[in-house]
Each structure stands twice: as C-alpha cells, then as structure tokens.
C-alpha cells in the first residue's frame, strides 16, 4: 500500500514538474520581474546592494537565485529553475502536510489541485519569492505538526524552515509568531510546558528563525554595517514599505488588488498581445475560481468541525491560514493575484477537506472522487495554454476571459 502511494505520488510530482518545466526556455529574454531580480541577485552577492530591486525585502531570494545561476548559467534555466523545483516540491510537501493534518484522500485532492493550479504553475515558471516561501513555510508547518504529535527532533527543523521563510519575504511573519504561540498553548494544555520545553520552543521557533533572517543579510553587513545599524535598517525598511501604493506598480491600474476578491469572484486580468483574428496570445493573471469560490463554506465547515471535535493540528492549520490571510486584507498595501499563492495551499486543503467530507456521505464515493479529480485536472489543463501564453482559439476562450478585464495591446 505504501509502495503504491509512493508510486502515485511520484507520478503526481512528475506531472507537476512537467507543467512547470514545459517551454521554460522561452522567452529567452527577461520576463516580468526577472529584469530586476536577476541583476539584483548578482549585485547582492558582489556588493551587498540590491539595485535595481527595492531594499526593503529580505535577501534570501537573491542567494537562491544566484546559486542556481552559478550552477546552470545566466540563461532562462538559471533564472527560473529555483521556482520550478520549489514549486514542484511544494506539491510533495503539501501532500505530506495534508496527510498529517487530515487524511490521505484529502491529501491527494489538495496536492492534485496545487499541481495543476494555474496561478501556482504560472508563478513557478518565473523567479517568484512567493513560490519559495510557500515551500519553506509548508515544511515549517509540517515539522511543527510533527513536533506537536510528539516527534521532538522536528522542532529545530521547524525553526530552520520558518527562518528560511522569514528571510525570503515577510508574508508569513505573523503566521510564524502565531505558530509559536499555538505550540506553547498546546503544550500548556497537555501539561507538558515546563521551563526547559518553553526555552526549547522559544529558541527553536524565535531565536533560530531570527538568526537565519539576520544571516541572510551577510552581504549587506559586508558593506561595513554592524548589528545596531541592522536594527535601524529594519525600521527604515518597514517605513519605506509603508509608502508602497497602487501607483507604485506598472500593472496597478489594470490589476485587481483586493485580496477579498480572490475568494468571492472569478478574476481574470491581463493583455491580449497578438492575434490573427481567430487565435490570440494572452498574458493573463487568474484565480482558479471554481475552487476558490468554495473557500468560505469550506472554512466555515472546518471551523464547525474543530468545534465539534477539537483537533490540535487542525487548530494549528486554521491559525496559520487566518494569520496569513487576514493581515493581507487589513493592511493598506495593494495585493495582487501573485500574492494569493501564499494562502493557496490553505485554501486548497480546506476546500479538499470540505469536498471529501461531502463525498464521504455518498454511495460510490470512489467513483465520484475519481470524477472530481478528473474534472479538476481537465479544467486546469484547459487553462494551461493561458499560463504558457500560447495562442488559443478566441471562440472558446473569449467568453471566459470576458468575465475579467483583458486589455487589447494588439
């Protein structure tokens, strides 16, 4: 049974890799933020400066990107393979995590949904720090859940992965803090929180991540700075970040920047940039709306289940989801669809749990489950040409794209 699971998981991961790797060498020139991130990563290693990028984001992404460029060369593979690999491996870790939190059936559905999700596939084909942090945070969460379930060795690993998350981008900073507090709370509830375990948890989930965060700035320190300069620099970065508005983005006028829309309506926006009248090429940002639209009922169902049958790791999961998504809604900074992949795994797991729970009430549930997975994969493969930017027949795709805002650049 275990061998069969491993085999199918390998097939799913290989499928996810294929979707992310297909045609990755084109365009052979910089695409999107690559024109900023690739030179910035080289600059960071050489000088500690991150121009032409902004200084206020943590710098681990430059180290990852530059490591890949050193191995594969400064070409499309070097620029994009970190995202391809971490995006693909996120499918694997989401399976492990969901199996740990829920059960194998939910894990299969959630991992399949992530493998084919158009937003995640699209972001995994460019150097996007959102893809990197999702991978790191899922590992951190998985290790934390293992620790809660009694595997003490996982605590330090949880800290390492949370540190890598923090050093890449700050989306999960509140979620990491909430994880720490939740772990303390659960240990206290189990009457296992003595001074020694309190210090272990604090050192592993606070001190260790912060140290990794500071170390990722090693090239910045190489400009002559010390730890006191670093503390001030962090304050300055935070204040600079507060000035980012919708006008700071080239796509600001076109794109939807409200994160509540991700789960309440279908989102398609972008450009039609080539057409022969019958077939057109698009650059489209989109959500997988048939799935995302189920988020609210699914989350309510999860909360209801937690109240009916309290489960410690479900609590951990719900806290991580809420503390990642709510700040995005509350803060004034615009949030575009690419940021949605930071909450995507939580949404996919919650929706999968909801759907599997519904199917479990039906007769012939296996058949329905297979049908559901087939439908999801087929739908996402239908969207895949839009992810690749390949020409699609207007007669089929136009009705769908007209739901959103597509600007004709042709």
């Amino acid at each position: 049974m275990k061998k069969r699971t491993n085999f199918y998981l390998l097939i799913l991961v290989a499928f996810a890799l294929t979707l992310r790797l297909w045609g990755i060498s084109t365009p052979a020139t910089f695409m999107g933020d690559e024109g900023m991130l690739v030179p910035a990563s080289g600059n960071y290693i050489k000088t500690g400066h991150v121009d032409p990028d902004h200084f206020y984001h943590p710098p681990l992404k430059y180290l990852l990107l530059q490591s890949c460029i050193r191995i594969l060369g400064s070409n499309p593979y070097g620029w994009r393979m970190v995202s391809v690999l971490l995006g693909t491996m996120s499918v694997f870790i989401l399976f492990l995590l969901t199996r740990e939190f829920f059960d194998e059936k939910v894990a299969w559905l959630a991992a399949t949904l992530l493998a084919v999700d158009p937003t995640h596939v699209m972001q995994s084909r460019v150097p996007a720090e959102e893809v990197y942090i999702v991978f790191f945070f899922l590992w951190g969460l998985f290790m934390t859940a293992r620790y809660i379930k009694g595997d003490d060795r996982c605590l330090v690993w949880a800290g390492v992965f949370l540190g890598l998350t923090l050093a890449t981008k700050l989306y999960f900073s509140l979620a990491s803090l909430m994880l720490f507090l939740t772990v303390l709370f659960l240990k206290h509830k189990d009457k296992k929180l003595d001074w020694s375990s309190f210090l272990d948890i604090s050192a592993s989930l606070i001190l260790l991540p912060l140290t990794i965060y500071v170390l990722s700035y090693y090239a910045w320190f190489g400009r002559g700075y010390d730890i006191f300069d670093f503390i001030r620099f962090q304050g300055d970065s935070y204040r600079e970040l507060q000035t980012v508005t919708i006008d700071s983005y080239a796509m600001g006028k076109v794109a939807d920047s409200n994160p509540t829309h991700w789960i309440t309506k279908p989102l398609f926006y972008g450009f039609k940039y080539r057409t022969d009248g019958a077939w057109s090429e698009y650059h489209v940002d989109m959500t997988n709306f048939p799935i995302w639209i189920l988020t609210i009922p699914s989350f309510l169902y999860l909360v209801l289940r937690i109240f009916k049958r309290p489960d410690r790791v479900w609590g951990l999961f719900a806290v991580s989801f809420a503390s990642t998504y709510i700040p995005m809604i509350v803060i004034k900074r615009p949030m575009f669809i690419y940021s949605s992949i930071t909450v995507l795994p939580f949404i996919l797991v919650t929706v999968s749990f909801f759907l599997v729970s519904l199917l479990n009430r039906l007769a012939c549930q296996e058949r329905y489950f297979a049908f559901l997975k087939g439908a999801v994969v087929s739908w996402c493969l239908f969207l895949y040409p839009l992810v690749l930017g390949k020409a699609v027949p207007d007669v089929i795709y136009t009705p769908l794209l007209e739901i959103g805002r597509i600007y004709n650049l042709h």
Partner: protein
C-alpha cells in the same frame, strides 16, 4: 520520557553566528594608515581620492550645501559622486552638515516629507538603496566613536563655521583619517586642519 534539551545549543550557536556577522561587517571597514588631507579641484574628484586610498565601509561627514547623491550616471559628476561612493561601498552612512544660513530653508523643505524623521535637532532619512542619511547643522554634531571621512566644500562655509569644524576635530568630537577639501579655503583654517593631521 527522556527528552533532549536543545535550547542551550541553539542559544550558543545563534549568539556566535550573530557575533560573527557583526565582526564580518566591522572588519569590512578600511581606514587610511595615517591621516590624510587632500585638496581637490572639483567636488567629484573626492571620489577618486577615496578610491585610491582603498577606503571602505565608512561614515562620511559631508560639509556642503548640496548632497551630491543623485542616483544617476556611472561616471562621477558633482551631482552623483557620493551616490557612487555608496555603490562602491566606500561610504555606508552619511551625515550631511548644512551651513547655518541655509538651515531654515533646508529644514522647511525636509519637514514636508513623511519619510524624513526629525530627531533631537537633526533629520534622519535614507537614500534610495537604504543608506542612512542624517541632515544636521554643525552645532548638532554629536561625538562619533569611529574615525570618519570628512569632505568640505569650502565655498559654502565662512571662516567662523570652519573654525567650529576645526574645534570638533581638536576636542575629539570627530576623529578623521581622511579629509578632503574642495574649493578655496583660508590659509589659517587650512593650517589648523594640517596641524590636526600632524598631531595624529
């Protein structure tokens, strides 16, 4: 159950790593082996003088009306040479000292910007790449523990204010290993600064 305690190891390893990264930063600074005073024709020539001396990771006190930190151009000009010095990692922190007679105007302009913070008589902000920038008058200079680079654009300073700069050096509020002067300076002041160089 026997549980291994990990916090002492994490505390020791993390502390060591944080100390190491701070040392790495402090060791990246390089100073002139003995105090140097250089007179340059144009402000932009200052960059060349700093580069030739192999200075790195330094605090700059720029006594000038203008900052010369425009983030444009690869070739040094009077508009961008400080920005280039930051990019080349010669300068890591800037104290821009404004002549007293221009302070009211500068202060009024800076007060309009939300990212410029007023603290104890001086303004604090940062360049486009995050390099800290303090804007202040001579009278608001506080003692600095490490040796700094001093750059004086003499055209903007009268003898009285330049004497105040000399006093800062003499009473060790500021200690410098590299002083650059552009423009004409009165021989008396130049002698006083030279005496500082000889004494150190």
């Amino acid at each position: 159950m026997n549980r291994k305690t990990v916090w002492p190891w994490i505390a020791v390893v993390c502390s060591l790593l944080l100390v190491c990264v701070t040392f790495w930063g402090v060791n990246a600074r390089s100073y002139a082996p003995r105090p140097v005073i250089t007179q340059t024709g144009e402000p932009r020539d200052t960059l060349h003088a700093w580069e030739e001396s192999g200075l790195r990771g330094r605090i700059l006190f720029s006594f000038d009306r203008h900052l010369h930190a425009e983030n444009e151009g690869e070739q040094p000009s009077n508009d961008n040479f400080i920005s280039l010095a930051v990019k080349k990692n010669i300068v890591r922190k800037i104290f821009h000292v404004i002549p007293d007679e221009s302070w009211a105007e500068v202060s009024a302009t800076l007060s309009k910007y939300t990212l410029v913070k007023r603290q104890e008589g001086y303004f604090r902000t940062w360049l486009e790449d995050g390099t800290p920038l303090y804007i202040l008058k001579i009278g608001d200079i506080k003692p600095v523990a490490e040796k700094v680079l001093i750059n004086i654009n003499a055209g903007y300073w009268d003898a009285q204010q330049l004497s105040a700069v000399v006093r800062l050096l003499e009473n060790h509020s500021l200690s410098s290993d590299f002083i650059t002067i552009s423009g004409e300076m009165s021989p008396n002041i130049l002698n006083a600064i030279s005496n500082y160089e000889k004494a150190h």
